[in-house]
């Protein structure tokens, strides 16, 4: 269960103050698949960062699976991230110097999972996204779609409670985009909470609920047909 209560986020530089999120309140049930939409600059990515404990809100309360985390330290947030959250990014963000399998292993690296088990789980995750045959290749040797699949595997391998995806299909063609959406939907069906930022109405339709943002505020929530 995720609950945001009047969350605001202000970015300050010496001269400018930007209100990225303006008193946003939102509830997400466990296992729910939510899409977040809105025009550029409306605060989608910021909302995702707050949800994913990558950033702390300037004001308001955030209940993360029962814990109130808005005032948590970086160390505490790191622990939670490590244990509960998986990320999929628009620009894949795979580490160039590591092989595909090693990239997936990174998600388990900091959990003190022994090496043998790590390798096994990574390969299993790659199997589930149909990329096991490229386990030894480098990210640069893969196409965009393949890289994103690896990224999804990385997000899934740690058995997270929550997956956050920031425009996961933004850099992919239709076919690959579809494949990734299917993986996310499957994860949601398996009980993982999935929150996805997207520009594509078609992809948003795969989610159970769409939340629209404008200028940092929630302007509408639409339930999809089941």
């Amino acid at each position: 269960m995720l609950r945001l209560e009047s969350i605001s986020k202000i970015y300050r530089t010496d001269e400018i103050e930007t209100l990225a999120l303006n008193e946003v309140s939102l509830e997400i049930a466990p296992g729910e698949f939510v899409a977040i939409m809105g025009p550029s600059g409306c605060g989608k990515s910021t909302l995702l960062n707050v949800l994913g404990l990558l950033d702390s809100p300037s004001s308001g309360a955030y209940h993360f699976f029962g814990e109130e985390v808005s005032a948590y330290s970086e160390r505490q947030l790191t622990r939670l991230r490590r244990d509960r959250i998986g990320f999929v990014f628009q620009s894949f963000n795979l580490i160039d110097d590591l092989s595909v399998a090693e990239n997936v292993e990174v998600a388990l690296l900091y959990r003190r999972v022994p090496a043998g088990e790590r390798r096994r789980r990574a390969l299993d995750a790659l199997e589930s996204v149909d990329m096991a045959h490229r386990a030894r290749h480098r990210p640069k040797q893969l196409s965009g779609g393949q890289q994103q699949r690896v990224a999804v595997a990385r997000a899934l391998v740690s058995d997270p409670s929550l997956i956050l995806a920031d425009e996961p299909t933004g850099n992919l063609d239709t076919a690959n985009g579809e494949a990734v959406m299917t993986m996310l939907a499957n994860a949601a069906a398996a009980g993982v909470t999935v929150v996805m930022v997207t520009h594509s109405g078609a992809h948003a339709a795969r989610a159970q609920r769409t939340v629209r943002l404008l200028d940092g505020r929630v302007v509408s929530e639409t339930q999809m047909a089941a």
Partner: protein, 834 residues
């Protein structure tokens, strides 16, 4: 976990091969230079440590303060001190003296001049040298006994242990080999290879002991020609090194105090010039090498590095190593931006700051370990050459010597932390949200630190360039012009008495342009004895000067190209110039030529004012008319002052230690040398001819300085290389980051030139700042170094300007080569770059 880190590190290095290579190569070079320097300094500090039980061995040294002269510290002490030690110092379990001599040895067909040490038989119980045959401590009980090194044994006898065999000394005496020593390492103050018993009737020690006034005076005066007329200038000073073995080394200061009490009690005083004082010290044998002795250091070719010089060298090498580390740090932080995504991903996956810190320190340590391995290899490769240059036999025993190995390991740890710590802190501090936004993220601060580091590098570099230039210019000046004496192609032969058939024949040789006799002290030649020929002099109504008496003939000044500042020099046409045999107690009368320092010491404001004045020299020597004043000339440029000197033509009364200076014609030197050698043999003089080129001697005086000059130059060159490498790495990296910006500017109409200027200006700023910082510091340091020389070059601002320009040029050239490549790309390519 480790494998993951290792994989990332290695592949990162592989991908960024260029920067990695620069960092590693630079660090390897810096480490090599540092290790070699520390080895050299370590060996200089370890002199005489091979001597068994060296902690108990001490040498008596003396400090002489004379008014008007610089303070002189020497490793010799009065000859009579040894006799007083048993009663004055209860802690002394043994005493021994060492007096050296130039002799000629012959065994069968092998004959050569050698430097021989006359020592008391107790010498080897104090200075316990390792022996390969016989027992050195008893070998010298035999008055004809002699102890030689293995090399000497092989040279004359062809075997290692010719115990009982004999060898001929100076064509007259027979010596018997009683023991053979292992060859002495280069790290020892002893330069002799043969030690003869002081008990021999013909030994120098015996001559000293039997001199009538052996107990009196600071320097023992030996009467030579006229025993009933002990005039000071006619005496031969005896220089001895006195060794003591103390039961308890901590008692050394107390022992020195006991000796100084003897002086205070008036046991000596007659031998010293009035107003002078002397203090004795006990110096540990192992510290002897580093003491800053001036004057008659026993043993020719004794070139020592001063403590100050060694410290300077260590500081320089450490600075150069610092430069290499700075390069590593700079390049790593510059690349930090590229690793932002990886850092973000790892943080998202749950990595703590600590995990990331360890990862990056680990990566740095990989580079450090590689560089260290390279450095070790380089050190091994270059040690032979360095040993040849320094005349040493150093080794780098990191595998057998636990201290060295530990030091190396500690060094790797420290360097890894230094090189990886800062980037590690910076990188692990990235906030994941910012880091993952994609594109380069440069946390605030590092670019300022990088700028400061580059400024630091160039400050060190410019300072070094200035220092090296000044050292070389001064050395060149000192050994050339600064002498103010024309020493080119001058051969000096030790000949006493100088005026002889030999001299007459040499003058007639076609290959000889000029010849002149003089006392040895005027040319140095191991004889910077402060007291030997010093007498009081004063003009009526003026202050008393303490002046060195020097013997010359009428050709001496012209041979050395010395012209008078006022008045005239000696001439054969003037009868009064040459002094007759003295009728003691009548005073000598005649002409004297003095140098500028003497004129000043006598109270004259200008050289001309001294002409025609009568000066009393004594006590009891004579009254002379000053006929000429010469400029101050000296071969000892390292002392800050030139001694006041009186020149006299007094061959009739001068007893010993004379030299014949021969100016050779450049075309015929080899034949002329052969002829001179032949003339010497025919003249019936005892022993081989002892001759050397004055230029060689002067060069040897400065060997230590020259060596250090070379070493510092090499370090400077290395610093230059490192600064360039670092700059190259940084420049290429920055240009890469600014590719998009450059593309945009080009698209908007900037010319290639404008972009070039922009890139070059970015890197000229730190160099200009470095100039401003290093100039005043370098000026201060070099000025104080130059003040130690009597004659020195001027610190012209051009030197500093040249150093700055050189650094600027280097920086521009380095950046330019890369910048040119960047600007020649088409704008659209640059804009497409992400």
């Amino acid at each position: 976990m480790l494998r993951n880190y290792l994989a990332a590190a290695l592949r990162n290095l592989d991908r960024n091969g260029f920067y990695g290579a620069i960092s590693i190569a630079g660090l390897a070079l810096g480490l090599t230079a540092a290790i070699l320097t520390y080895l050299y300094v370590g060996s200089e500090l370890a002199y005489d440590r091979f001597v068994e039980d060296s902690a108990h061995a001490f040498v008596v040294t003396s400090e002489l303060r004379s008014p008007g002269q610089a303070q002189v510290v020497s490793d010799y002490a009065p000859a009579w001190i040894a006799r007083q030690i048993p009663s004055a110092i209860s802690q002394a379990s043994a005493t021994a003296r060492l007096a050296y001599d130039q002799v000629s040895l012959r065994r069968g067909s092998v004959a050569a001049p050698e430097e021989l040490a006359w020592v008391d038989p107790t010498f080897f119980s104090i200075v316990r040298l390792p022996a390969i045959a016989g027992d050195p401590s008893v070998a010298l009980a035999d008055p004809a006994g002699v102890v030689i090194t293995r090399s000497l044994a092989r040279k004359y006898f062809g075997v290692d242990a010719p115990i009982g065999e004999t060898i001929e000394l100076d064509g007259r005496q027979i010596l018997r080999v009683g023991a053979v020593l292992a060859d002495l390492p280069s790290e020892t103050h002893l330069t002799q290879q043969i030690f003869a018993s002081g008990r021999a009737s013909f030994s120098r020690l015996t001559r000293i002991d039997s001199a009538p006034s052996a107990d009196a005076g600071y320097a023992t005066w030996l009467v030579t020609s006229q025993p009933e007329q002990p005039v000071k200038a006619r005496f031969e000073t005896v220089r001895l090194r006195t060794y003591i073995r103390l039961r308890n080394p901590d008692q050394a200061p107390a022992a020195a105090m006991a000796l100084n009490r003897l002086i205070a009690d008036g046991a000596i005083g007659r031998g010293l010039p009035p107003g002078s004082s002397v203090r004795l010290n006990l110096v540990p044998l192992t510290s002897l090498h580093l003491e800053n002795f001036r004057g008659a250091n026993l043993g020719a070719g004794d070139v020592r590095a001063s403590r100050g010089g060694l410290i300077g060298l260590v500081a320089t090498a450490s600075l150069v190593l610092g430069l290499a580390v700075v390069n590593l740090v700079n390049l790593t932080t510059a690349q930090a931006a590229e690793r932002a995504v990886e850092v973000g991903v790892r943080k998202v996956a749950g990595a703590r700051r600590r995990d990331l810190f360890i990862q990056f320190v680990g990566e740095a340590s990989l580079q450090v370990i590689t560089a260290t391995a390279l450095a070790i290899a380089l050190v091994e490769l270059s040690l032979p050459a360095l040993n040849a240059f320094l005349g040493k036999s150093m080794s780098f025993p990191y595998w057998s010597n636990p201290t060295a190995g530990l030091a190396l390991a500690a060094c790797v740890v420290v360097l890894s932390l230094a090189a990886g710590g800062y980037p590690g802190v910076v990188l692990s501090a990235f906030r994941p949200a910012q880091a993952l936004k994609g594109g380069a993220v440069v946390p605030a601060g590092p670019s300022g630190v990088r700028f400061a580091l580059v400024v630091g590098q160039f400050t060190v570099l410019i300072g070094l360039v200035v220092a090296v230039s000044v050292v070389w210019m001064q050395t060149g000046y000192a050994t050339g012009q600064g002498l103010r004496m024309d020493t080119e192609q001058v051969l000096v032969v030790q000949a006493t008495p100088c005026r002889s058939a030999f001299e007459a024949e040499v003058r007639r040789l076609p290959g000889v342009r000029a010849a002149a006799c003089s006392s040895r002290n005027l040319l140095g030649l191991d004889d910077f004895d402060p007291v030997k020929n010093v007498m009081d002099a004063n003009v009526a109504g003026g202050p008393t000067a303490h002046a060195d008496m020097g013997l010359v003939d009428q050709d001496w000044f012209s041979l050395y190209g010395i012209t008078p500042l006022a008045g005239r020099l000696f001439s054969r046409d003037r009868g009064k110039d040459e002094l007759p045999v003295q009728n003691y107690p009548e005073l000598q009368r005649g002409s004297v030529v003095i140098n500028l320092a003497a004129a000043r010491a006598l109270g004259f404001s200008t050289p001309a004012a001294a002409l025609g004045r009568q000066v009393q020299v004594g006590p009891g020597y004579g009254e002379f008319e000053i006929v000429g004043v010469t400029p101050d000339t000296t071969l000892d440029l390292k002392s800050a002052r030139v001694k006041a000197t009186f020149f006299l033509v007094d061959f009739a009364n001068y007893p010993a230690d004379q030299v014949l200076s021969i100016k050779l014609d450049g075309d015929q030197i080899p034949e002329t040398l052969r002829t001179i050698d032949q003339l010497w043999r025919n003249s019936g003089q005892a022993g081989e001819i002892r001759r050397q080129f004055l230029d060689d001697y002067v060069q040897r005086l400065y060997v230590a300085t020259i060596r250090q000059g070379v070493l510092v130059s090499v370090l400077c060159g290395l610093a230059l290389l490192l600064a360039c490498m670092g700059l190259l790495g940084l420049a290429s990296f920055t240009a890469q980051r600014r590719t998009k910006e450059i593309g945009v500017r080009r698209a908007l109409g900037a010319s290639r030139q404008a972009i070039l200027q922009m890139l070059i200006w970015q890197f000229t700023k730190p160099v200009l700042l470095a100039c401003l910082i290093s100039w005043p510091i370098a000026a201060l340091v070099m000025r104080s170094w130059l003040d130690g020389f009597a004659y020195r070059i001027e610190l012209s601002p051009l030197i500093f300007l040249a150093a700055g320009l050189a650094a600027l040029f280097v920086a521009c050239a380095t950046v330019l080569t890369h910048a040119l490549r960047v600007v020649s790309r088409r704008p659209v390519e640059a804009l497409r770059h992400e």
